[in-house]
Amino acid sequence: AQSVAQPEDQVNVAEGNPLTVKCTYSVSGNPYLFWYVQYPNRGLQFLLKYITGDNLVKGSYGFEAEFNKSQTSFHLKKPSALVSDSALYFCAVRARDNYGQNFVFGPGTRLSVLP
């Protein structure tokens, strides 16, 4: 069965500092991996995805994520955090070859960027 873990409920970081939001996954076979952001009372907004190729993926708003197959991780990073990055972040996985499996989302990590 597929699963996604986001080990931190809350991440606090000062504005201008680098941020990391952690994600580990479990899936049969190779994964497709995704990051989404959600602002209050809004739908989820796609940030970036890993499909194949370069393990470092760049996405919207200066975010990037690194796929690490040996550690089954896909951590989200940004070199310099903005107060406007404060939101709820979700990691998601989809098995590449298992057509019976849908997206599985992690529980979410709330990011607070302090001015």
Partner: protein, 114 residues
């Protein structure tokens, strides 16, 4: 470009009343469609998904049902709401052409059952 609409944006309903939430997608054809519920601003629970007209798969047994009467229309219903049905309901779609495509989410419906 593709867009996804949900309505209503907010809804307050008494216990025991019926429910109908609607989701429509524009600018694409034969999308996969999904209903999620999000409780207390945290994790997503997949309720239903559909790969085509009239094809509905239920992920969690519950008080809700879904229908897809048209290719780009997905409806979430209940005959009698429970207090536990309160939450933020999100509709999403992705292209049926490949599993590497991301899901696109609607703006959500905030349902409060009193």
């Amino acid at each position: 470009s593709q867009t996804i609409h949900q309505w209503p944006a907010t809804l307050v309903q008494p216990v025991g009343s019926p429910l109908s939430l609607e989701c429509t997608v524009e600018g694409t054809s034969n999308p996969n469609l999904y209903w999620y519920r999000q409780a207390a601003g945290r994790g997503l629970q997949l309720l239903f998904y559909s790969v085509g007209i009239g094809q509905i798969s239920s992920e969690v047994p519950q008080n809700l049902s879904a229908s897809r009467p048209q290719d780009r229309q997905f409806i979430l219903s209940s005959k009698k709401l429970l207090l536990s049905d309160s939450g933020f309901y999100l509709c999403a779609w992705d292209p049926s052409s490949g599993r590497g495509n991301e899901q696109f989410f609607g703006p959500g419906t905030r349902l409060t059952v009193l």
